[in-house]
């Protein structure tokens, strides 16, 4: 036995406690994923800003293209933001008593579903009005940016539903909740920037 192992026994009877991880693996993995997604949206928003600036002397949105529903989407955005706030409350409720997190988590999921559903209704109306991916760069950017966000929202909602299922079975760990919450926070926090750049 070496001097080190004699001083710091590593077997099951060790007197040393195992150090708590600085960041749970799931959260770290999700953060790395979110970093790549932030760059993805930053690229899309930057391309949109440059193309829009090229149309500075002309009209934006282009002539003949339908206008985006700014007010309806603002109300819809509020549902998404409230969902993010409720998820923060879910975290505090979970830390006090895991079973107490059930209702706020469910509320957060419902508000997220309201946002995604209303976006779907808005898309159907815009398609009926003639705004498609091919109709103009305006339409192309709208569906690419807002559609990418909607895909992320659906994925993050899937994570929240999974977390709710595990919570219901008393099998949800705090690191699992933190991981799925981090993704939903990303979806919530990136939306105001997209709304500002695309809708206003």
């Amino acid at each position: 036995m070496s001097a080190d192992s004699a001083t710091y026994p590593m077997d099951a009877h060790s007197t040393h406690r195992r150090r708590e991880p600085v960041v749970p693996s799931g959260v770290l993995g999700m953060l790395l994923f979110i970093f790549t997604e932030v760059m993805f949206f930053a690229g899309l928003v930057s391309a949109h800003a440059v193309v829009r600036s090229q149309a500075a002397g002309q009209m934006w949105p282009p002539y003949g293209q339908p206008r985006l529903p700014v007010q309806e989407t603002a109300i819809n955005s509020l549902a998404l933001l409230v969902s993010g706030v409720v998820l923060v409350l879910t975290w505090f409720a979970y830390r006090r008593e895991p079973s107490g997190a059930r209702i706020p988590l469910l509320l957060s999921i419902v508000l997220g579903l309201v946002f995604v559903s209303m976006q779907g209704v808005e898309w159907a109306a815009l398609l009926a009005d003639g705004l498609t991916l091919q109709s103009s760069t305006y339409g192309g950017f709208f569906y690419l940016i807002v559609g990418s966000h909607a895909l992320h929202a659906v994925g993050a909602l899937g994570g929240l539903v999974w977390a709710f299922d595990r919570l219901d079975k008393n099998r949800l760990t705090s690191s699992q909740l933190a991981t799925v919450s981090a993704f939903w926070y990303f979806v919530v926090l990136v939306w105001p920037l997209l709304y500002w750049k695309v809708y206003l």
Partner: protein
């Protein structure tokens, strides 16, 4: 200065001074001010954003690590003390 250091400094100088402006860039030399501003702003945004995220994550992990070290020290002031 060591040989490796000299090579490093020379490489840095070459990288800094050799490249020339890309005149093929459709927006860098655009007559429209708004277009040029958008191009510069998005270039700065896309360059600084990843650096900011990496630095932010590094600082947050450092803060978390110190918090955990503080908790450990409070729970057990002498971690090498043998079990009674």
């Amino acid at each position: 200065m060591t040989r490796a250091g000299a090579v490093g400094v020379c490489t840095l100088l070459l990288v800094a001074f050799l490249p020339e402006a890309g005149h093929a860039c459709p927006v860098c030399f655009d007559a429209s001010d708004e277009n040029r501003r958008a191009f510069l702003a998005t270039t700065a945004f896309l360059s600084l954003l990843p650096l900011g995220m990496v630095m932010g994550a590094g600082l947050w992990i450092r803060k978390r690590s110190r918090e955990i070290d503080g908790d450990d020290a409070r729970d057990d002031p002498d971690p090498n003390r043998p079990e009674p």
